[in-house]
Structures are given as C-alpha cells and as structure tokens.
C-alpha cells in the first residue's frame, strides 16, 4: 500500500543531517590526522593522533543518539496524527502488529534515503571545506583519500537507528483501538498509566547505572584517555534515563517557568497546557533539552580543554608553539558540527509543537467560541512555546554543565601524564549564543502554529467531525 510519506519529512531531515554529520566529521578528522602527521611539530605527539578518531566517534555517537531520540518522538507525533487512518485499517481487519511494522518499514526506507543522501552531502561538504582551508592557508594541502569505507559506518548506523527509533516511537500504534475510526461516538483512549511504572523503574535503573559508569569513566580517565568512552556510555545511559523520565522531570520545571509569565488568561492557560499533558510536554521539550545539553556539554569540555592548553603554553611556550592556532581551528570546526546536533534537536521541537497545535484544533476553536480573541490565542501559543523553550534551556544548561565537566575530566584528567583535577571552564559566550538561539527558536517554532491557531474558526469546536 502506498503510504503517506509527507509527514515523514522531519524524520528524513533528521536522518539526512545525522548522516551528513557523521560522514563529514570522519572526513574532517581523517584530513586533520593526515595534516598533523605531516606537521613536523605535532607529528611527534601520537596523543593527538590517537585522540582524534576517539573524539570524532564520540561526536558521531552523540549525533546519532540525538537523532534517534528526536526520530522516536517525531514518529510518535506522526502516529498521533495518523490515528484515524490506523483505526480504520484496524477496523477493516489489519492487525496492530502489521500497522506498527508498516511504520517501522517506513522508518527503514526513510533512514536509508537520508543516510545515502548524507554520504553524498557529507563528502561534498568535506571536499569543499578542504578546498577552502587549503586556499586560505589554514591547513596545508594534504593527500587525503575520499573513497574510504569507514565513512559508510555512520551511514549504516543512521539507517539502523532510524529503523529502531521508528519501531520504538510507533508503540502508540498498539493502543489505537479500531472503534476510534467511527469518530465522535468514542473518546480516543488516554495514555495508559499502567505502563508508567515499568518506565519509571527503567529510568531510575538507567540513571543509577549511567552515573556509576560516568564516575568510572572519570576515574579511568585519570590514567588513560579511553576513560572518556566509558564516560560516554555512562552519559548516554544516564541521559536516556532522564529522557525516559521526562514526563516526571519536565512538569515541575515547566510549572516553575509558567509562573514567570504573569497572570493574564492567555499566560495562565498556556502554563496549564504545558503541564496538563506530561507525555506531550515531555515529547516537545526533550529534543531541545538534548540539544542544549549537548551544546553546553561540548562548550564546557572545550573551555576546560582550552584552559588546560593555555596553562601548558604558559609553562612551556617553546614546546606548544603553534598549537593555539590548530586548537582554535579544531574548536571552530567542532562548534559548527555540534550545531548540527542542535539543529536536529530544533527540528524535533518545531515539528512537535506545530503538530500538537494541529491536533488541538478543536480545543482552540472552543477557546475562540468562548470569547478568546485571535490575538490572545496567538499570545497563548507564543507563551506556550516560550515556556517550553525556557524550561528546556534551563534543564539543558544544568545537565550540560555536569556532563561537560565529567567529559573534560575523563578526557583530559590523564592527558598530562599524571592524574589532575580539571577545573570546569564556563563558556560565557556560548551561553549567550544559546539564550539568543532559544529566543529565536521560540519565535520560529510558534510562527506557523500561531498563524494556524488564529485561523481556527469557532465553528470547528462545535462540528462533530
């Protein structure tokens, strides 16, 4: 059966970005490795050559993890939008498993298309970047092979994770009841509370296990740079726990933030909306929490790294001459690349917010019928988006600071030959950029939904279908 693939475009975009990111990053680090090996000064130190691929894969795994979480949330929203069609097919005699399988297969196809385009785009971007770097003299001309089998690894990982994330995100299909196809007579099923307990237990287990691994990573990192991989695993597990428990973690933060918006009816309803459906609120915010956590993690780690290098330059200026320039280039490249992950997260936020407005057409119509002005409705949507963004940014900053320090400690704690305590650097500039970006995101994410909400006529609230 031909599927309606239009609502899968966000998933495709996420797979494309993740694929491009992974391929580009492998190309760039490959190039840097060649350049460093060719350089007379840095070529001596094999620590850098050893750390580059490790760091590259850390970022790739992070990006793929982000895209997996975003994709599973996107697919959950896609399923919510298709409930009526799925119910109809169930009614005519399709099994829930077949319907879920269909969504997962769509995920596989979309993941494949996105990853294939990502290999192409990533390689092209790397090629362009090399040309620019060589032309501007940032990097010497290098003999780098683009036909490299290893760059297919992130593409394969993207295909598999998109497939898996679609499967995970499509579990709501199992709760669609055939009777929902008949429409007005039956209210659609509420999200079951029974499943929550198992989920909460899993979240606690993940957080505890992840934190333990994170600590182990820090300890191992005091003597070996591989400690960061253990720490990464711990970070992923503990953060997965936070993501799983988002419906518990986010509402209190949202409630707190909601108080900041004053007592006008629009603000009060917006704050209520953000908290009323914890499942939906967590689905909308978690993408952004991940994005902000990532950016903060990255910049805290990098700021700590920079502080360490600066200390080393002051101590032995002759040994570390020229490292400063290379470091700045590396940080700049990584800053751009981490932006990819944040972009992936932002797509998740924009997508879920606009879909959630789409799914609440009737409720918005009711508010209009009860006397809300179109302007107030827009204010409500913007306030809702702002509440979600601010809550997600705050949560992400706190988490990112913890993970950033842990990452820096695990990565650099033993890099100088003896165990040291890495003082966390505070990246003020990055925090400033983040706040501005969050504000912009609020505006962008609420434009389309607000316009749609303003167009809702009071009549739809009273119509039966």
């Amino acid at each position: 059966m031909r599927a309606r693939l239009k609502d899968q475009i966000p998933t495709l975009l996420v797979a494309l970005l993740a694929g491009t990111f992974g391929v580009l990053l492998l190309h760039v680090t490959g190039m840097l490795a060649v350049a460093i090996a060719a350089d007379s000064v840095t070529g001596e130190s094999d620590t850098v050559a050893l750390m580059l691929p490790v760091v590259a894969w850390v970022f790739i795994v992070i990006a793929i993890y982000v895209s997996a979480v975003v994709t599973s949330n996107t697919v959950a929203t896609v399923v919510a939008g298709r409930t009526r069609l799925i119910a109809l097919l169930r009614l005519i005699g399709s099994s829930a498993r077949a319907e879920r399988g269909r969504i997962a297969r769509e995920g596989l196809a979309v993941g494949f298309a996105g990853a294939a385009a990502g290999v192409l785009l990533g390689t092209l971007a790397a090629f362009g970047l090399e040309r620019v770097a060589v032309a501007t003299g940032v990097m010497p001309a290098v003999d780098y092979q683009y036909l490299n089998v290893s760059v297919l690894l992130p593409a394969i990982a993207v295909v598999l994770t998109t497939w898996l994330a679609s499967w995970v995100g499509s579990r709501r299909v199992l709760r669609v009841r055939p009777i929902e196809a008949i429409g007005q007579s039956v209210e659609s099923g509420r999200e079951e509370l029974v499943r929550r307990r198992g989920r909460n237990i899993a979240a606690v287990v993940l957080v505890v296990l992840g934190t333990a691994l994170l600590a182990a990573g820090i300890v191992v990192g005091l003597v070996r740079p591989e400690g960061v991989l253990i720490g990464l695993l711990g970070g992923i597990l503990s953060f997965s726990g936070v993501v799983l428990a988002a419906h518990v973690v986010m509402p209190p933060v949202l409630r707190l933030v909601g108080r900041l918006f004053g007592r006008s009816p629009a603000a009060r309803i917006a704050a209520e909306n953000a908290v009323r459906n914890p499942e939906r609120a967590s689905r909308m915010t978690i993408g952004l929490v991940i994005g902000v956590t990532l950016v903060t993690t990255f910049s805290v780690t990098m700021e700590s790294y920079r502080a360490m290098i600066h200390a080393a330059i002051e101590a032995q200026p002759e040994v570390f001459a020229g490292v400063e320039g290379m470091l700045n280039v590396t940080i700049a490249i990584f800053a751009v690349l981490i932006g990819f992950s944040a972009l992936i997260a932002a797509i998740g936020m924009v997508n879920t917010l606009s879909l959630s407005v789409l799914q609440r057409t009737r409720e918005l119509g009711l508010l209009r019928a009860l006397g809300f002005e179109a302007r107030q409705l827009r204010g409500m949507i913007v306030a809702e988006a702002a509440a979600l963004t601010v809550a997600a940014t705050l949560t992400g900053l706190v988490l990112g600071f913890v993970y950033g320090w842990a990452g820096a400690q695990a990565l650099l704690g033993g890099a100088q030959g003896q165990p040291v305590f890495i003082f966390p650097g505070i990246p003020w500039a990055m925090i400033g950029i983040l706040v501005v970006a969050a504000g912009l995101l609020t505006a962008v994410a609420s434009i389309a939904p607000a316009r749609r909400a303003m167009r809702v006529s009071p009549v739809v609230a009273l119509a039966t279908d």
């Binding site: 097919l89 399709s94 007579s185």
Partner: protein
C-alpha cells in the same frame, strides 16, 4: 449437545447483554439485559432515539467493544472473550462495515479500497472472488471510476465504494452505521436500495443502525431500542408506521 446459533438460522446472537459505564452513583447503563438473534440473509434495522444504546449494541456485536455482561456470537463463534488477534482476523474475513462518513483510505483509489481486505489478509482474491468483485463494480456503477481517489468522488459514489468493500469478502454480516446520514435523500434512497438488493439478491445478512424511519423502511425487520432495552421487534413497515412508533416512544419517555 448445545444448540448453535446456526441451528436456529441465526447469523448473530447476543444473550443477556449488558453494558455499563463508570461505577457507583455515576454509573450509566447503555445496554440492559438485551437478548436477540439476527436471521441469516435478512436486512435488519436497529432503530432508536439518541442514547438508546443502538450504536453500543452494534459495536459490541461487531467485536469493537466488550460487554459488561452477557454473551455475543457471530455465526457459531462466541466472540465475547476472543483475544484481539482473533477479533482482527474475524473483522477481516467475516464482518463488513459501512459508515456514515464513508471512511475510505484517502491515498488509495477505488480498486485499492475495495481490495484492501484481501491485501490485509495477505492474499489475492480467487478467480471466483474476482468475478464477484467485477459483478459488484457493475451493480454499484463503479466500472468507470476504478482509478479515482475518494476525493474525486461524490458522497454517493464514495458510499458505493464502501459498500463494495464491505461486500467483497462475502462476510457473514455487514454492519451499517447510519449509512445515509451524510447523503441527500435521493442518493440515500439509492444506497438503501442497493443494500436491500444485496440482502434480497445475494442473501447478504445486514444489520443497519439508524434513527431515520425512511432508511428503516427498506429493512425486512426492525428492532426498536429505548434506554438500553429492546422494546419492539417488528417486520417490514412503512415509514409512517415507524415514525409514529418512534414518536410514541419519545412521548412515553
């Protein structure tokens, strides 16, 4: 030996059926000790005012909803406690549905919609079934529309596609829920004529839920529900007889 519904010439049967929502003081009774049998090959209308429980009865008989008490059979299969997977196969092979809002799959053309039950069953229609479907296209006047999508069709045409889809698998029983509710009266009459024809010509058993006396006058038998109970079991009636009985029920309440 236990007597099976089919021994009595029944295609569907419910016994002592009850459906209650909520609990305690706020409890609502939608169906209260309903027992009835639908005869094979008959076109039965289930009538009643809003809130009489007629839709709930249909949902339970089709296995879409579970009763609070009592038993339900489709053919000789007791479906009261069937697991979801068995109910799914049952809906696919032995039940057809026709709705007020047509409910066609928007991305599929007419042929795709009609063949959907076979596709969901993972098989191609047999030669015999293909001839039957061709006949349905002919009778329902869909021959020239097979490549059209639902949005390219009028309401009446969409409902004909839904009828073709419901009849294609030659199910034991077709459930029709207010099939003329979204149609103008002339198109509605045509659709009712087609349903009555399927029953009289091909022996198709049909259960139609409606509150429209004209729609019900096409049926062989009319069951009246009020407040979750069967209050009358009548044969073929004129719209006037049906309307006056409905009116008397409303004023008695």
């Amino acid at each position: 030996m236990q007597i099976q519904p089919s021994d009595l010439g029944l295609i569907a049967r419910v016994a002592a059926l009850g459906k209650r929502y909520g609990s305690g003081a706020g409890q609502v009774t939608a169906l209260d000790d309903v027992s009835l049998g639908l005869r094979r090959g008959e076109f039965t209308a289930i009538m009643g005012p809003s809130g009489s429980g007629k839709s709930t009865l249909m949902h339970i008989m089709a296995g879409l909803d579970t009763p609070s008490s009592g038993q339900v059979w489709l053919g000789d299969t007791e479906i009261t406690s069937l697991p979801d997977s068995a109910l799914t196969v049952l809906r696919r092979r032995r039940v057809g549905f026709i709705f007020q809002s047509f409910n066609l799959v928007p991305t599929l053309d007419v042929r795709g919609n009609v063949l959907l039950p076979f596709e969901l069953d993972g098989r191609k229609p047999s030669l015999d079934e293909r001839m039957w479907i061709e006949e349905l296209y002919e009778v329902l006047g869909l021959k020239s529309r097979l490549g059209h999508r639902p949005h390219e069709l009028s309401g009446g045409q969409q409902q004909r596609v839904a009828i073709a889809r419901a009849l294609a698998t030659r199910p034991d029983l077709v459930f029709a829920d207010e099939p003329t509710g979204n149609l103008d009266s002339r198109t509605g009459r045509e659709v009712l004529g087609l349903l009555a024809g399927a029953s009289a010509g091909y022996g198709q058993s049909i259960a139609m839920v409606t509150h429209d006396p004209i729609a019900a006058s096409h049926a062989d038998r009319i069951l009246y529900l009020a407040d979750g109970r069967i209050v009358r079991d009548a044969g073929r009636s004129t719209p006037e007889e049906i309307a006056s009985f409905m009116l008397s029920m409303e004023t008695a309440a």
